[in-house]
């Protein structure tokens, strides 16, 4: 396991050489939050509640959904996977006694570490800015459950990134798929607004996909709109999705490798 730990630390070191890029990401994160809070503040003028959300709850929802989503993003890791395949870097990795899937997991985790810390700092600044509006009512039990849920969310995102990256085995370009899925998943996970604002059909359908468990359910738990037991159920669903996605990754990887071995790319 030591080798994968070294991959994480090497990647963190590498990230330090791209300080400017990290700062640029951080600026984008904030811009998105500003847009969302401005919209909702305007919408709530003269209205007390929308679908059971008070103005205070809605701002809290948006701020925390934003925070959770940037804590758990993989920052377009699918492109790294696709690049390995297209440029043939994969060959160098395949001849070594290591598992590529574990290698990318380690690499992705090292890659997000610094950005993750920056989001934490950003979050602290944002919370203090909204301190009069945000709802803070958390006990330790809920905090631990939330942390576990967010770790699971990160891995769901990572598994999806790896899967989309694997499309590169069959096509020379993955950006279209990556972009569409990104928008779709952020929409369906409730990153921009509570999923319950959508027509019932959508809400029901969304529970058959992994996204709703990644952001919407954790924020609901935080807001106290669902019980601890329901939160626990959400975590269980995330676990099930992780197992399922991992199995799919294994299958797609095998099929992709077969193609790679026969074509050489």
């Amino acid at each position: 396991m030591k080798k994968y730990w070294h991959i994480i630390t090497n990647e963190i070191q590498r990230q330090f050489t791209y300080r400017a890029s990290i700062a640029a990401y951080a600026f984008g994160n904030i811009a998105e939050l500003v847009a969302l809070t401005v919209i909702w503040t305007i919408v709530y003028r003269g209205i007390d509640s929308i679908n059971g959300y008070s103005s205070q709850e809605m701002i809290s929802y948006v701020v925390f959904a934003w925070f959770f989503s940037f804590l758990t993003t993989t920052y377009a890791f699918e492109r790294n996977v696709a690049r390995d395949i297209h440029l043939g870097t994969l060959s160098n990795l395949l001849v070594k006694p290591q598992s590529y899937i574990r290698y990318v997991m380690a690499l992705a985790t090292g890659r997000i570490t610094i950005a993750f810390l920056i989001v934490l700092v950003q979050g602290a600044i944002v919370f203090s800015f909204f301190r009069n509006t945000l709802i803070f009512s958390l006990d330790w039990k809920t905090i631990i459950l939330l942390v576990l849920m967010l770790i699971a969310t990160y891995f769901i995102n990572l598994f999806l990134s790896v899967l989309i990256g694997f499309i590169a085995f069959w096509t020379t370009e993955i950006n279209g798929t990556y972009y569409s899925l990104k928008v779709f998943s952020r929409f369906m996970s409730g990153t921009f607004f509570p999923i319950s604002l959508l027509p019932v059909f959508f809400v029901k359908a969304s529970f058959f996909l992994p996204f709703v468990y990644t952001i919407y359910i954790p924020v609901q738990l935080y807001l106290g709109k669902i019980s601890f037991a329901e939160g626990l159920k959400g975590l269980m669903m995330e676990m099930l999705w992780l197992v399922g996605l991992y199995a799919i990754i294994k299958i797609v990887w095998k099929a992709g490798l077969k193609k790679y071995e026969s074509v050489g790319i």
Partner: protein, 327 residues
């Protein structure tokens, strides 16, 4: 027998796309499949400690063969065994015993000093601490890279980077080393450095090395045995010196003349004129007649200053093989 290859073939599938927008649209629904036989039923074997050169023009199948032997590619048919393992099973026990260095692709972490990649490889190949230090010291001394270990790889020159690539590949003391164009793009001095290193490393550690290169110098300096591969087939497998005898039935006479020199007519009867200047002439003469012709020239009344009998340049031989088609 370290490497054994039997009837190994590899066929690539690819698609044809005619020019134009309409053809692109059609290509969405139907694509014409084409097949290319990169390697055709090749057979060879390599003994422990041998340093074998793979020669051949671009696209001849050299790299494909190396990729199959290192387990990256699956052959279409045939067998191969390296150190008793079937390469494309990619068993860790096999992977720990060989290394692949590709001149065109780097394994070092681009943004970090080479040392970080070395330490990572130590973990990946599970090299014990003491052995790692010993191997590293040896490689650092042999390659003279002590000063650049802590410099970001991206800031190194191509020659320095190649040295570090070799060090990274050899830290786990592989028994078999595949080198794919290790000197590509390097200047003459750097090429020589790499070459000298490969030579002394092979002699010292008895590592079995399979090397591909476009540079004749590499092969001439390093390999006793060459395998010439062309259009996927082996054209020649054997001693480099014998290759010259077999494919170059000529020797070269280099004659220098004193004073005013000579005219073309004076020498044209001795052999085929290859290069002509009044003061120096290069003649090609049949191998078995070389000595007689030299004697005849010396005993003629031409103002001979010096005469030299030489082998044809190996690059000329290989070029001849490639352009004639050797099968």
């Amino acid at each position: 027998m370290v490497i054994q290859v039997k009837n190994l073939s590899k066929t690539y599938e690819y698609h044809k796309k005619r020019p134009g927008l309409w053809a692109s649209l059609k290509g969405l629904f139907h694509r014409e499949k084409l097949f290319k036989e990169a390697v055709k039923e090749i057979n060879f074997s390599v003994e422990e400690g041998e340093l074998v050169g793979f020669l051949g023009p671009n696209g001849a199948g050299k790299t494909t063969t190396l990729k199959i032997l290192s387990g990256i590619l699956h052959p279409s048919s045939g067998e191969a065994k390296v150190l008793g393992h079937i390469p494309w099973k990619r068993e860790p026990e096999y992977q720990k015993q060989f290394a692949l260095v590709m001149g065109q692709k780097n394994q070092l972490w681009w943004d970090l000093p080479a040392m970080e990649s070395f330490i990572l490889n130590k973990e990946i190949y599970e090299v014990p601490d003491a052995e790692f230090t010993e191997n590293l010291d040896e490689l650092v001394a042999l390659l003279d890279i002590n000063d650049i270990l802590d410099v970001q790889v991206r800031k190194l020159s191509l020659g320095q980077r190649m040295k570090c690539e070799l060090a990274a590949a050899l830290l786990h003391k592989p028994k078999v080393l595949f080198l794919d164009e290790p000197t590509i793009g390097l200047d003459v001095v750097a090429q020589k450095n790499i070459r000298d290193f490969i030579k002394s490393y092979n002699q010292k550690n008895k590592t079995t090395i399979l090397l591909t290169s476009h540079y004749m110098e590499d092969v001439k300096e390093l390999c006793q045995r060459v395998i010439i591969i062309e259009e996927g087939e082996i054209g020649y497998d054997g001693d480099l010196a014998k290759l010259i005898e077999k494919y170059a039935p000529y020797k070269v006479l280099k004659i220098t003349f004193e004073g005013e020199g000579i005219k073309e007519e004076d020498v044209k009867n001795f052999g085929e004129i290859y290069k002509f200047k009044p003061n120096s002439v290069t003649l090609r003469v049949p191998r078995e007649k070389a000595r007689d012709v030299a004697r005849d020239i010396l005993s003629s009344d031409l103002p001979v200053d010096d005469i030299l009998i030489d082998e044809v340049e190996i690059s000329d031989v290989v070029r001849k093989i490639f352009s004639n088609g050797n099968h």
